[in-house]
């Protein structure tokens, strides 16, 4: 067996619904965000201690937490940016979580998704946080700015205000930063419940590209945030997984992609993946190898994929325009963790193969993936 194996190292059952799990950079700790039965938000910090999990800290707040990220935090002050069910964005110091470093009413609806960048880069633009919400808006925040977003990408007001839901407003389910390789360039990708994918260019302040998937977009991630755009992985309802080659944009055809329609399929007989289609909830690229990534599925499975580049990534089409060529997807390994969807997953940024994931069965798992170094 030279295939990577997925192993459940530790398992922790909790008494609340888990919404997000994230490693604290450069530590053996991770944060679990969730919602208690009474609707209160809870943030637990666990630490690996030999072969046990130890709860270091537990913080409860009035509003349920939905998502969080350490992307805008420097190594010295590892502050976490958290979005909650009432549209509030707060940046918390893990040592003094009672008093937020930054606190803003960012959206009128729940913040579904969050991403941040710039914390650990030098001279590559400001640390910024992007949030996507049920009110249809995608907003970029700089915590030095005060109460207004630095870039606002919201639908026009005639589409309703998000509180009085009007059908024209789309629910934003996924956001991701990318292309941050110097002080000016920066890109935000946003995915909506109707399958719209929008790529915003923050340098030129325009919509760079748009596409529509067949199903709502649940997960988005650039393979690397800090390099010129390379690949963008998109996961959707009904088991879709698409990987776009973001190097070359064709004037009319846009970016090329490879699609895996059965990425969310459940397990049929004898462990063969042939069952009904289920949502692919999340996608996370391995920090040590950008061509490997994990997807978490609605059938309680995690699947490890490898992207193989084509021989030539760019070809000239008949009109002399450059057209990107997508590679191939290869499922490396798969394992069933739970009977409920695995909706959040986070690789440890500093340790190859270590990961934490949360599922809707009210539990958190620390996973080890072996033999990743052979890829």
């Amino acid at each position: 067996m030279d295939k990577p194996q997925l192993i459940e190292h530790l398992h922790e059952a909790v008494n609340y619904t888990v919404y997000d799990t994230k490693w604290v950079p450069l530590s053996a700790k991770f944060v679990v965000l969730g919602s208690k039965a009474n609707g209160h938000g809870i943030m637990d910090i666990y630490e690996l201690n030999q072969d046990k999990l130890v709860k270091v800290k537990s913080v409860e707040k009035k509003v349920a937490f939905k998502c969080g990220t350490f992307g805008a935090a420097s190594l010295r002050n590892r502050h976490m940016a958290i979005g909650d069910f009432e549209g509030r964005l707060q940046v918390l110091d893990m040592e003094q979580p009672d008093l937020p470093v930054y606190n803003v009413k960012a959206h009128s609806g729940i913040i579904n998704t969050i991403d941040a960048i710039g914390g650990t880069q030098i001279d590559c633009g400001a640390p910024e946080i992007v949030t996507g919400s049920r009110d249809g808006a995608v907003r970029v925040w700089d915590i030095r700015q005060g109460q207004a977003p630095v870039v606002d990408m919201s639908p026009p007001p005639q589409m309703g205000d998000g509180v009085n839901q009007s059908s024209a407003r789309r629910d934003c389910w996924a956001v991701a930063f990318g292309n941050t390789y110097n002080a000016e360039e920066r890109i935000v990708a946003a995915g909506y419940d109707n399958g719209d994918l929008k790529i915003f260019d923050l340098r030129t302040l325009s919509v760079r590209w748009e596409a529509t998937m067949k199903n709502g977009i649940c997960g988005l991630e650039f393979d690397r945030r800090e390099i010129p755009m390379n690949k963008l992985a998109v996961t959707t309802l009904e088991g879709g997984l698409l990987v776009y080659d973001m190097r070359t944009q064709h004037p009319t055809k846009g970016f090329s992609y490879v699609e895996e329609r059965n990425a969310g399929r459940s397990v049929g007989t004898n462990g063969v993946i042939s069952g009904p289609k289920a949502t692919v909830w999340a996608v996370r690229h391995l920090p040590q190898n950008r061509d490997l990534f994990m997807t978490g599925g609605g059938t309680g499975s995690v699947r490890l994929w490898q992207y193989e580049y084509p021989d030539k990534r760019v070809i000239d089409d008949s009109d002399g325009n450059k057209l990107g060529v997508a590679g191939a997807l290869n499922m490396v390994s798969a394992a069933t963790l739970s009977s409920q969807p695995v909706h959040c997953f986070d690789w440890h940024p500093d340790k190859l193969g270590l990961a934490v994931c949360g599922a809707f069965d009210q539990s958190v798992r620390v996973l080890i993936t072996t033999k990743l170094n052979t890829y």
Binding site: I7, E8, H9, L10, V24, L26, S27, A28, K29, N49, D51, S74, L75, R76, N77, R78, T120, I122, D123, A126, P127, D142, A148, V150, V151, D152, M153, S154, P156, K198, T204, L205, S206, V207, E210, R224, I227, Q249, P251, N262, V267, T269, N270, G271, V272, I273, N289, R290, S301, Y309, N321, M331, A334, A335, T336, L337, K351, L367, I368, T370
Partner: protein, 466 residues
């Protein structure tokens, strides 16, 4: 109803039932069909045949090992399946990371004054406006053409108008329209891409490095290590994707961030340079790596490889031998030593051969030059310049005419002889190994003949002119 709605897989795939047979499966070569057969057998619709299924799965595995039908998913294993040994690194790592963690917490107390980029100006991206923009011109054009069509359409009976109609012009117009559309699309894309020439980019990079250096002084060793490691990993990713320029850039950063522990980054940058055939840079990187880690086998190997590619085979050989001292079982070093010794013949002490290298090169050129009756060959001239000198130094005026013709020919022969000189450089030690094996000499002659012939021709020409 049910039967109508649910066709059996056999019907759906249109596979005759007698294909579900050992004999057929055995000789089937169509991977797609095998997939279908396996699918049918697995479904159990035609009955349960475990042996046949196993047989056809094996066949499919042989035909198409990466078939989607082999995607299995297992329940996750518990950590007790892992050996204690395999878990140990993780436990060790937790201890290690904890010390780093607490060190960072200590650092938190120091106030860091990193210059952060400015907050960007408040701005808004209009969603609908932007999305409409690209489609607008198209809509307009189609609208225009529609109205045009209504007005301009020539009735089939209107012969006077048809006389004036020029199809070529219309075609040209259509082509122009199409081109305009394409240009607009391209403009949209290029507006997103920066128009920066290479010089600007380099300047930018240089200033970036300077700024980085000043900021790096404010960072702790721990942070620098982290940043350097991240850059190194990203470099590795570029390398894997065969984008060596990107890789070199990342390694540059890694070295800049943490020069004291940059042995691996140097080493990796050396390979990237090797891949780009920049042997000199590769050598300096290997040497830098060896300064940090004198016993790094890989760096030695790469240094040898670069030397070999540059033609310094003797140096390469001595490095390979050093590798074998460090690691007696190194296969690639052993092979290379064998190869090189067979090429070089018996190897003398490095010092002896080095002298002879210097000796051999000029005489060869001298022989060819002497045919041209060159006097100036006593001067140590760079090899490449010699033919041009020959042209320039032909003294008497009678040669003027010849010189008018010569340049073309001289350029040709210059190239050849220059290439030859390089070739000689590579082969120089060959003929000069002290015991002088007779074999290598013959190829040398055959290679040499070419430029000489050409020179002879030019000489003949010269003579004719005189």
């Amino acid at each position: 109803m049910e039967t109508e709605k649910k066709k059996s897989l056999l019907e759906k795939y249109d596979i005759p039932i007698h294909h579900l047979d050992f004999a057929y499966v055995e000789k089937c070569t169509n991977a797609r069909e095998m997939e279908k057969i396996v699918h049918i057998l697995r479904s159990g619709q035609e009955g349960y045949y475990p042996d046949l299924l196993r047989c056809s799965e094996e066949k499919l595995k042989a035909l198409k090992p990466d078939s989607k039908l082999f995607r299995y998913e297992e329940p996750i294993k518990q950590s007790n399946v892992l050996d204690k040994k395999e878990l140990e690194p993780i436990l060790e790592w937790t201890d290690d990371i904890k010390t780093k963690d607490s060190a960072l917490n200590e650092l938190k107390k120091e106030k860091l004054v990193l210059e952060l980029p400015n907050v960007r100006k408040l701005s808004k991206i209009e969603l609908d406006k932007q999305s409409n923009e690209p489609s607008k011109p198209v809509a307009k054009v189609s609208m225009q053409s529609k109205t045009k069509n209504k007005d301009d359409r020539i009735k089939s009976t209107d012969y006077r108008k048809w006389d004036k109609y020029d199809p070529d012009e219309e075609i040209l117009r259509m082509d122009l329209d199409e081109e305009r559309g394409k240009e607009q699309a391209e403009q949209r894309i290029t507006s997103h891409q920066k128009s920066a020439n290479e010089k600007e980019l380099q300047n930018e990079k240089a200033s970036l490095f300077e700024r980085l250096q000043t900021e790096l002084k404010n960072l702790s060793q721990l942070e620098r290590e982290q940043f350097a490691e991240r850059h190194r990993l990203r470099g590795n990713e570029y390398f894997k994707a065969k984008e060596y320029d990107g890789a070199i850039e990342e390694y540059n950063c890694a070295i800049l961030y943490d020069p004291e522990n940059a042995a691996r980054a140097y080493n990796n940058r050396a390979v990237s340079h090797l891949k780009l055939k920049k042997y000199f840079s590769a050598m300096t990187d290997c040497q830098a790596c060896l300064q940090l880690e004198p016993n790094n086998v890989k760096a030695h190997l790469r240094l040898a490889e670069a030397n070999c590619a540059e033609g310094k085979k003797l140096e390469a050989l001595s490095i390979y031998k050093k590798v074998l001292e460090l690691e007696p079982d190194n296969v690639s070093a052993k092979n290379s030593v064998e190869k090189l010794t067979s090429q070089l013949g018996e190897v003398a002490p490095a010092s002896a051969t080095r002298l002879t290298i210097e000796e051999l090169d000029p005489p060869e050129l001298k022989t060819s030059n002497s045919k041209k009756q060159l006097v100036k060959s006593t001067q140590p001239v760079a090899k490449k310049q010699i033919p041009t000198k020959a042209a320039n130094t032909t003294p008497t005026k009678d040669y003027d005419l010849a010189e008018l013709i010569k340049p073309n020919r001289m350029v040709k022969s210059k190239l050849v002889s220059a290439a030859e000189a390089l070739g000689n450089q590579l082969q120089a030690p060959k003929g000069d190994a002290p015991k002088k094996p007779p074999l290598p000499l013959s190829p040398k002659e055959s290679i040499l003949r070419l430029p000489q012939d050409k020179l002879n021709i030019s000489n003949k020409l010269l003579i004719q002119e005189i």
